[in-house]
């Protein structure tokens, strides 16, 4: 199957180990470069959905297809490799490694997918430029504000030219004005690379910039304006 | 006084012991004239003869220019005891060695010695070339003809390589060197003067690289000294111009010469052998040893007649106290001396009781 669909969730269901059913029979297909947002209450299963999409969790039923490759039956090694190559992540808690400098942090996904150190650092420098931190390549994490750290995370998510970005509450730890800046930067930069993105968020404001807005409830997932 | 009594009783013991050791006694060959001395064979041991030595003396200089005198001697004795003992421990040959280092800075001589029965490859004097081993002491002659010696004493150690710069000098009549009026009172005797020395010396805990000049005396004999001799005076001198002088007198109890001789070889290699009348030894300054009471003429001159002319070679010691004593060695004086235009060693024996070989 061609790369055309970065992500297809095909009738996936997830029941937790303690027996509680999170969701049953969810369909979702993402086109190349498409930006969708998913809103919903806390604990409804939004993050779990992202984990399934990333291959970090296994659905109780259904099939996950990433960039044309079904995750069903893939080994741990294959999953890790696929995830590393095709997907980029932006977390609520930034998760930037404190003992590496900015350019090293950003270059991580590129190195993990096989680039030489020098090539990866080049790409990283490029992306730091794009997110406006080009002059701070060798700064340390402790020197940056929350918003700046999230910008680093964005750069990192894109350094290896993934087909899919998964963003889980990226503005959750930021104040409103920084949030708006970061959301704007995220949307622009992702669009400019042609990657698709799934944004999970509480904030309606953040969700508004998406191409398609979804909401997740106890009964399943539907378009917001249904 | 007591010593004489002791010696007398020793001799009595020897004689009565000798009476019991009735079986075969060694047959010591006589030293005769006309024997051709060939090398390298004659650098090696001549086991049948009673006494033999490899006697090295010389002057050394450290890297900082300080002078040292050294002496390394290996003796081989074939004792006069029965020869039919098949045991490999039988003392058919005794190897004895002593070494000394004279340091003018301390004004003292340090020395040490080793002795043992030849056997089991750890104590040997081999024939065929110079190759003497006495436990951890050795003197060998390498393939390139360098005399290599390593000795380690209680307070010092010598590791010297001595390269001949001139061919061996045959003393006496082509090596047949008389020491007394009888024809048999002689030894085979050659010297190798002007040896170029390099190596290292450990003394006072310090290791030093040294260079210098040395003299090798080689003698073997069976019956060498006349009965009325108490000792001898000998010198071996390396001159700066490349010539070399060996001179000796055999001395009687009255201090007069019983016999004398020597050789002079000029830088070109022309050798003059002296007859007994050509050599005189004149003491000049006496030094009395505080340890043994013997009185040595540490400053003396050899007066030699060469080409009809009498020449005087005055000898001055590096320092006075260069007397050698030890449990296995007779007491004598062996020291580094200088003369005008050269330097070497002076050996004076028999001043502390008659010398016993």
């Amino acid at each position: 199957m061609p790369d055309h669909f970065p992500l297809i969730l095909n009738s996936i269901a997830k029941t937790l180990p303690n027996g509680r059913e999170l969701f049953a029979d969810i369909h979702l297909s993402l086109s190349a470069g498409e930006f969708i947002s998913i809103q919903g209450e806390s604990g409804i299963g939004k993050s779990t959905l992202l984990n399934l999409a990333a291959g970090l969790d296994v659905p109780s039923a259904g099939e996950v297809i990433v960039a044309g490759q079904s995750l069903d039956g893939l080994s741990e090694t294959a999953l890790t490799a696929l995830r590393g190559q095709k997907i980029g992540f932006v977390f609520q808690a930034f998760h930037v490694l404190p003992f590496l400098n900015l350019i090293q942090n950003v270059s991580l996904p590129a190195i993990l997918t096989g680039d030489t150190r020098d090539l990866a650092l080049e790409k990283a420098a490029d992306l730091l430029d794009k997110v406006g931190l080009g002059d701070r390549t060798h700064s340390l994490v402790s020197e940056l504000s929350g918003g700046e750290l999230q910008r680093v995370a964005i750069a990192r998510a894109l350094v290896h030219a993934p087909t899919l970005i998964l963003a889980d509450e990226p503005t959750g730890n930021l104040d409103p004005s920084t949030s708006a800046e970061v959301m704007d930067l995220l949307t622009r930069t992702v669009k400019s690379t042609g990657a698709a993105m799934i944004l999970v968020t509480h904030s309606a404001i953040d969700a508004a910039s998406a191409d398609r807005r979804l909401v997740m409830t106890a009964t399943g997932m539907r378009d917001l304006h249904d | 006084m007591y010593r004489l009594v002791a010696i007398a009783i020793f001799l009595a013991a020897v004689l009565s012991a000798g009476a019991w050791a009735y079986s075969d006694r060694p047959d010591y060959p006589e030293v005769t004239s006309g024997k051709k001395i060939v090398f390298p064979e004659d650098h090696g041991s001549h086991d049948a003869f009673r006494t033999e030595w490899w006697y090295l003396t010389g002057w050394l200089e450290t890297e900082s220019g300080d002078p040292l005198g050294f002496q390394i001697t290996f003796f081989r004795t074939r004792p006069d005891i029965e020869t039919n003992n098949p045991s490999k421990f039988a003392p058919n040959q005794i190897i004895f060695a002593h070494a000394a280092l004279s340091d003018p800075k301390t004004g003292k001589l340090v020395h040490d010695e080793r002795i043992g029965r030849a056997g089991f490859d750890i104590i040997e004097a081999s024939s065929g070339d110079a190759d003497v081993k006495l436990l951890d002491w050795q003197l060998t002659r390498t393939i390139e003809g360098v005399f290599d010696s390593k000795v380690a004493g209680k307070d010092f150690a010598l590791d010297l390589q001595m390269k001949p710069s001139q061919p061996p000098m045959l003393n006496g009549d082509n090596g047949y060197s008389r020491k007394g009026p009888k024809a048999s009172q002689a030894s085979y005797y050659y010297s190798v003067p002007q040896l170029v020395v390099s190596g290292s010396v450990i003394s006072g805990g310090r290791a030093m690289k040294v260079t210098g000049r040395a003299w090798l005396d080689r003698e073997w004999s069976s019956d060498v000294l006349p009965e009325n001799a108490v000792g001898w005076d000998w010198t071996g001198l390396n001159f700066d111009d490349g010539s070399a002088l060996m001179a000796f007198q055999v001395r009687g109890a009255d201090g007069q010469a019983v016999y004398a001789g020597g050789s002079f070889r000029d830088a070109e290699g022309k050798q003059t052998v002296f007859s007994p009348n050509d050599v005189r030894f004149r003491p000049q300054r006496i030094w009395k040893s505080p340890e043994t009471g013997a009185a040595y003429p540490v400053e003396a001159e050899f007066i030699i007649r060469m080409g009809g002319q009498w020449k005087s070679y005055g000898l001055k010691p590096m320092f006075d106290a260069q007397e050698l004593t030890g449990p296995f060695t007779p007491t004598y004086w062996e020291g580094a001396v200088t003369t005008s235009g050269g330097r070497g060693y002076l050996e004076m024996t028999g001043y502390a009781g008659k010398i016993a070989l």
Partner: protein
């Protein structure tokens, strides 16, 4: 299909990670490296001190007796090839060798028996000058001058004073000497001033000995002087490689040395102690790395989400462990060498025993020892860091990245089955026999007990703490402390591991040493019950029946028992056994029996020592054959007695039986009870003279009380160092606990902040931590005591018997254990307080907002 990218080795990442970690949290790694280093240092230094002590001890003994550093002796009276003399000289570890012929001989018509030695005076002069002869009427003791041909004559002999006396010869006489079936006349030239009074010795030239007594081509002995750069062990090694079958190496045998084979046991146990230190170090590393891995689990999770393979991560952790192990081991080897050097220089090789001082020899470091300890260190480091790292790396990344460090166990029951299984296995291992004389299974059993104890510690903690948690009214701090420990028992285990190991082993050692000493003390009392002992020296003394009666009748003597000891061989592959012939039934000195036959059987009874029973697998009532008499003699085992001195085994036979069997009534040793035991020194002087008059040789006398004091004193001093090192091990354990505690407390900073927020005062937090420390200490102590006791039993009943063929009774030093327990509890409480003070500081508030 999209191809799966091949697994790449992200080496720049590994380097960044390691360097980043080192830069940000250097102390964690330094601590881990130090843990390994200290363990290795202790072990290595103990090993070096052991080797040096045994060398120096031997040297001192030899110096005292004026003999050579080592001897090569013929295995039989036929001697060995004389060429060995030259070969031995050429070894670099040998400075000098003296060849000796040694035979029994008879002098002249008197038939006086002498030991005949043939020596080369030149060689003996430097190594064994006591053997040199002195010419009559000369004070010059050197055997020969260059010009003195007399000494070279192979027909003279020197006699010792005793030989002169017994042969009635005079210097200058012609003496007939008969040996090895040959006869030859020698002229007596002088005496042997270096030979002790009472020893009948004749010295002749070695060439004469070989020639005249048909010993051509052989030697009986080589007296060896060791070169300065070699140690006794390196000399022994070099010699053993080249000796032929008919020659054996021995150090100077000496009575003092015989009585101190105790020290061998002590030394082996010291080595065990060294392993203790290493194990403790390993646990420290384990706990440090556990914590470290816990902290890093979010980082690991992130990297794995970003594409790092789990196996790559695990490989990296392995390499980290290897690097840690290498750094720690090398540092430890250097520290260990320095420590050993320091101890040896300051305290001396006698380890404070005061028996000898003087220059310590070079410390003997063998490549194999270095490699073994290096291997231990690396293995420990890898084991300590790999396991926790592996666990952390294997967590599900999605979960691990979210949750913070406090992984509560949710009250899960700790699995106790593997722990119990380990203890059962330990029990089984303890029952297995020794392998080639080494109690390998015993040591494994100790390890299994330790492992099992440590495994079960959380369960034990649970068991001890649950009833405590039901205690009310102790205050909030106490409750919190108990509950915290209850809910995370494996955190507790990490802290306790080190302390259980070191406390357990220390308690085991304490019990073992106490048991050992009590047993030795009792044994010495029974074995040295006479006032004076008379024995032979270089040549056997001999008292015939008439002389025995005369001696027994001497006024000073209340009771004299005569005995004789000979060597007999029960098995050609084993060293010969001592057979002591002495009064048994009628004796007033009982054998320290540990087993007796129920009733008297017909036949000749013998009593065998415990080592003999174990080596030759003999029991009560068993019949054996002794090589006495032409065709051997059947005897039966009537009893087994304990013997701490003769490792090779000993047998006692009734004196009368022996006389009847062999017809030999002469005896050579006497055990004397004095009429007036207070007057020992005067009495022994008188007796020496009187016995000399009666028997013709002057006896050697030993004072029983003196021997006992020396032996026990040596024992105590030896173990003084053991105690010192044990204390160090405990200290390490405590430091480890403290550090682990401090680190753990560091991760609970959020919790403290929260407590502070809800009104928990700083003092309250410190109190809580003190309680935690105390409770941990109680658990650790309990586990340590239990495992320590179990291990001590293995030491006492399995390891020591298998190593040295001796048993001892358990004697528990209760007061000492009480003292140790109190110290431990106080220390653990104090450590916790100290660690807590630092953590409950102002930073606690800040921590609540921190995520990383």
């Amino acid at each position: 299909m999209t191809s799966v990218r091949q697994m790449v080795q992200p080496s720049p990442i590994w380097r960044w990670l390691l360097l980043g970690q080192l830069r940000t949290f250097p102390f964690r790694y330094i601590f881990a490296v130090l843990s390994i280093a200290i363990g290795i240092a202790l072990g290595f230094s103990v090993h070096l001190i052991n080797a040096s002590a045994s060398d120096a001890f031997g040297d001192a003994v030899r110096n005292m007796s004026g003999s050579s550093d080592a001897q090569v002796a013929g295995a039989t009276s036929l001697g060995f090839d004389e060429q060995l003399y030259g070969q031995v000289y050429n070894l670099s570890e040998v400075a000098d060798v003296s060849p000796v012929i040694e035979m029994s001989a008879v002098l002249g018509e008197s038939g006086a028996r002498v030991k005949l030695l043939g020596i080369d005076p030149f060689r003996a002069a430097t190594i064994t000058p006591v053997l040199l002869g002195r010419q009559e009427s000369s004070n010059d003791q050197s055997a020969s001058r260059r010009g003195d041909q007399a000494a070279l004559a192979t027909n003279i002999a020197y006699l010792s004073d005793a030989a002169f006396a017994s042969s009635n010869a005079k210097p200058g006489d012609l003496l007939t000497i008969r040996a090895n079936g040959q006869t030859h006349d020698f002229q007596v030239a002088g005496d042997l001033p270096g030979i002790e009074a009472g020893q009948s010795v004749a010295v002749i030239d070695i060439a004469a000995a070989q020639w005249h007594f048909d010993r051509l081509g052989v030697l009986d002995r080589l007296d060896i002087k060791r070169s300065e750069k070699a140690t006794q062990s390196s000399l022994t090694r070099a010699m053993q490689e080249m000796l032929p079958r008919d020659a054996r190496l021995s150090g100077a045998e000496n009575e003092i040395q015989k009585r101190t084979s105790l020290s061998r046991a002590y030394r082996v146990n010291l080595e065990m102690l060294a392993l203790v230190a290493l194990v403790t170090g390993g646990f420290l590393v384990y706990s440090a790395q556990s914590l470290s891995a816990q902290k890093r689990q979010q980082q690991f999770a992130l990297l794995r989400i970003l594409g790092l393979q789990k196996s790559s991560l695990q490989h990296q952790l392995l390499w980290e462990g290897l690097a840690l192990g290498l750094a720690g081991s090398i540092l430890g080897l250097i520290l260990g060498y320095a420590f050993a050097y320091l101890i040896l220089t300051i305290i001396g090789s006698d380890l404070g025993g005061g028996y000898f001082s003087g220059s310590t020899g070079p410390i003997d470091v063998t490549i194999s020892a270095l490699l073994v300890f290096l291997g231990f260190g690396i293995f420990t480091a890898i084991f300590g860091s790999f396991a926790p790292g592996r666990r952390a790396a294997a967590l599900n990344p999605a979960q691990a990245i979210k949750t913070a460090v406090d992984h509560q166990e949710k009250g899960k029951q700790p699995i106790w089955l593997p722990g119990v299984a380990l203890l059962v296995v330990a029990g089984g291992l303890a029952l297995l026999p020794a392998v080639d004389g080494l109690p390998i299974f015993g040591y494994l059993a100790v390890a299994a007990v330790l492992a099992g104890a440590i495994w079960l510690t959380p369960w034990l903690a649970r068991g001890l703490l649950t009833p405590l948690s039901r205690l009310s009214g102790r205050g909030i701090a106490f409750d919190l402390a108990v509950h915290h420990l209850l809910r995370s028992p494996s955190q507790a285990a990490a802290a306790l591991g080190g302390i259980v190991a070191s406390v357990g082993l220390m308690i085991a050692m304490v019990i073992m040493v106490s048991s050992f000493r009590t047993s030795v003390d009792n044994w010495l009392e029974s074995i040295l019950s006479a006032d004076l002992y008379v024995s032979g020296g270089l040549v056997e003394t001999s008292f015939d029946s008439k002389q025995q009666a005369e001696i027994a009748g001497l006024p000073d003597i209340a009771d004299a028992e005569f005995s004789k000891t000979i060597n007999i061989s029960l098995d050609p592959k084993q060293p010969p056994v001592n057979l002591t012939v002495r009064p048994v039934e009628s004796s007033q000195y009982d054998l320290p029996l540990i087993a007796v036959a129920e009733q008297r059987t017909a036949g000749i009874p013998v009593w065998i020592s415990e080592p003999a029973a174990r080596i030759y697998d003999l029991q009560i009532d068993q019949n054996i054959s002794l090589p006495i008499g032409a065709r051997g003699t059947p005897v039966y085992v009537a009893g087994i007695w304990s013997d701490y001195a003769r490792q090779q085994g000993a047998i006692v036979m009734e004196s009368e039986d022996y006389t009847v069997l062999t017809g030999i009534s002469a005896r050579s040793e006497i055990a004397i009870s004095l009429q007036d035991p207070q007057d020992i020194s005067a009495a022994s002087e008188r007796l020496k003279a009187q016995i000399r008059d009666i028997a013709g040789t002057e006896p050697q006398m030993s004072n029983a009380a003196g021997i006992r004091d020396i032996a026990l004193g040596l024992f105590d001093r030896s173990f003084a160092i053991t105690y010192g090192l044990e204390a160090v091990a405990i200290f390490i354990g405590m430091v480890g606990v403290g550090a682990t505690f401090a680190a753990q407390v560091g991760t609970r900073v959020k919790e403290f902040g929260m407590l502070r927020h809800i009104g928990f005062g700083r003092r309250e937090i410190i109190k809580m931590l003190a309680y935690e420390g105390l409770l941990l200490g109680i658990v650790g102590l309990a586990a340590g005591l239990l495992s320590g006791f179990a291990i001590s039993q293995i030491l006492v009943h399995v390891i020591n018997p298998q190593s040295f063929n001796l048993t001892m009774k358990t004697a528990i030093p209760y007061m000492l254990l009480l003292g140790i327990s109190a110290t431990l509890l106080i220390t653990s409480g104090l450590t916790a307080i100290f660690a807590g003070r630092r953590a409950a500081a102002a930073d606690a508030l800040r921590a609540v907002n921190e995520d990383w």
